[in-house]
């Protein structure tokens, strides 16, 4: 395979070529031209371009960005807010950190364009507390943008006022969930709530709020620059543009790769990542991060494509690919994943709080080899309840990896069922 066939640098094109601390470098590479272009357009026209581009949210849920913006624009109530979700807590993900550290103005430009299109005056960038360096880069870039008149009152004499505050989190995964994020900004403990209403109508301080992921915003200047129709030529029918992929685990060249949608997982692992150290075999691949599905290596021909994934009841979330080689113990990995969610659960609802604790106990029974047939049935009921009855995405998605191990690697559980099982049941 030609390893460059799937690479297309759009969001990462300036990485390493500009000094991310210099706004002049950014401007010399066409930076803020899209903002100028956008300010000459109407908000409605900008939203149309974004709709035509086919851009879907890169935070995991793949909601069409243009529709979200339209909902915010049409929602009653003021002021409205725009929030960039840079909480990036999903294990296996680091793309948003790279975007902020290597090209912070691209993100800022994207947010300003969206705020102008939806008529918003105040924005936040919510950065996880662990990302001190990214936060410092973004703060510095914001200050530079203010001095140049890209932020503040009467931006570029277009009669548009807008500014952005940085808000840093304090170490909590669930705060990446929209409502938990909103209440954290309001200065409360980050706990999720039921939806609807959605933030587009009832967000920060109960006002209409646009929340998007860092990578989503970073696409905006490119869409404005090339036009929505042109952008939509990149990728596949269901998936437009490029995707930043965070490749990690047992792989020769882990790292951040920007690929065109439609690239296969195998080409990413072997073509870009150089395969598995010491030519070991792949045991399992986790897509999206801890909350994502796991697949066996013989499914790695699957492309990064929303439709193909959906057909297989899979998703690639925010774009992590975690490779695990033949040496791993599958149940041990599941225990770690569930342990993560157990630690990060906000504890508000029973299916998630208690379900995760019970799942850990059950997993231990399999790991210790004392599980009986009944435990398998119990595990099935437990994870079903969690997916169905948890309030927020954390509890709903936490059992995904277990579900997929039961589907693709049933022997991992079966082989651990105690031999005297029939007597015990």
């Amino acid at each position: 395979m030609n390893k460059n066939a799937c690479v297309r640098k759009l969001l990462t094109k300036r990485f390493g070529e500009i000094n991310p601390g210099s706004i002049d470098d950014y401007i010399s590479r066409g930076g803020y031209d899209s903002l100028r272009k956008a300010l000459a357009m109407s908000g409605g026209d900008i939203i149309n371009e974004i709709k035509n581009s086919g851009l879907k949210g890169r935070g995991g849920a793949a909601f069409p960005t243009g529709l979200k913006m339209q909902a915010v624009k049409e929602a009653g109530g003021s002021p409205k807010y725009i929030i960039c979700n840079a909480d990036e807590g999903e294990p296996g993900n680091f793309k948003d950190r790279y975007l902020m550290e290597n090209d912070p103005h691209q993100l800022i430009e994207g947010i300003i364009i969206c705020a102008y299109a939806t008529g918003i005056k105040h924005g936040y960038i919510f950065i996880r507390g662990e990302y001190a360096r990214a936060a410092a880069m973004v703060e510095k870039a914001l200050e530079q943008a203010r001095i140049r008149g890209f932020l503040g009152d009467n931006i570029l004499d277009a009669g548009f006022d807008f500014d952005i505050d940085v808000y840093t989190g304090a170490g909590s995964y669930v705060c990446g969930e929209e409502f938990a994020l909103l209440v954290t900004i309001e200065g409360k403990s980050g706990r999720a709530t039921y939806k609807p209403p959605f933030p587009t109508t009832c967000g920060l301080y109960n006002k209409p709020t646009q929340i998007n992921n860092v990578e989503t915003f970073c696409n905006i200047p490119h869409i404005i620059e090339m036009g929505g129709a042109e952008f939509s030529k990149i990728g596949t029918d269901s998936s437009k543009g490029t995707k930043l992929v965070c490749l990690s685990g047992n792989v020769v060249r882990p790292g951040l790769y920007e690929v065109v949608f439609g690239t296969s997982i195998k080409d990413i692992i072997y073509g870009l990542g150089g395969g598995i150290p010491n030519n070991r075999e792949i045991k399992m691949i986790q897509l999206g991060g801890a909350s994502g599905p796991v697949i066996p290596s013989d499914m790695s021909d699957l492309p990064l494509d929303y439709a193909s994934m959906r057909e297989n009841d899979l998703n690639f979330g925010s774009g992590a690919i975690i490779v695990m080689d033949e040496r791993i113990n599958v149940l041990d990995i599941l225990k770690r994943i569930i342990g993560f969610f157990h630690h990060e659960s906000c504890g508000k609802c029973t299916p998630c709080r208690e379900g995760l604790a019970q799942t850990l106990i059950l997993l231990d029974r399999f790991i210790e080899g004392v599980a009986v047939e009944k435990d398998l049935a119990l595990l099935g009921i437990l994870i079903e309840t969690m997916s169905e009855a948890s309030i927020c995405g954390l509890g709903q998605a936490a059992p995904t990896a277990i579900k997929k191990v039961l589907q693709y690697f049933p022997e991992e559980f079966q082989s651990r069922i105690h031999a005297t099982d029939s007597a015990a049941v």
């Binding site: 294990p91 296996g92 680091f94 304090a170 986790q286």
Partner: protein
């Protein structure tokens, strides 16, 4: 820094509380918020003490228990785990003569587990304060510890 100072710098509205608490905590000798501190934050912001306490105990970067001057957070999520993060923990425990979750006798280092640090491409990884360390080896761990010991004498 005093609680008052932190709030003056950040602002007294509820949305500034977490930032002010983080900044204040950094300046305390044992990296945590005492019951007294929490009471003062409540008084100064006009928020109920229970609310301030719930915030202080919810977030993993805030602590209501005393900790070391430097907090070593070792990532133990899957990408780091399959790259032998367990060895990092063993190495640290041996060098620091302490256990995970505890603080060294000299009060210099606390050892904690952490969720993914967003550094999985350089697994295994750990963080001390604002500094991230990836591709950890025994040698690298030793030099990072030495660097912090030196710094603590400055």
């Amino acid at each position: 820094m005093q609680v008052k100072e932190a709030l003056e710098k950040f602002g007294r509205t509820p949305d500034k509380l977490i930032g002010a608490m983080l900044a204040y905590q950094k300046t305390t000798p044992c990296n945590y918020l005492t019951q007294e501190d929490i009471r003062e934050f409540a008084k100064e912001t006009g928020l109920p003490e229970s609310r301030v306490h719930s915030v202080a105990s919810f977030y993993s970067l805030l602590s209501t228990k005393p900790r070391g001057k430097y907090i070593i957070q070792v990532c133990h999520d899957v990408p780091c785990y399959v790259n032998n993060s367990t060895n990092v923990v063993i190495e640290l425990e041996q060098r620091l003569k302490t256990k995970m979750g505890q603080t060294t006798d000299d009060g210099l280092f606390s050892l904690e587990y952490s969720s993914c640090l967003g550094c999985c491409d350089k697994a295994p990884a750990m963080q001390i304060g604002d500094n991230l360390y990836g591709n950890l080896t025994a040698e690298k761990i030793s030099s990072v510890l030495a660097e912090h010991r030196r710094k603590s004498h400055e």
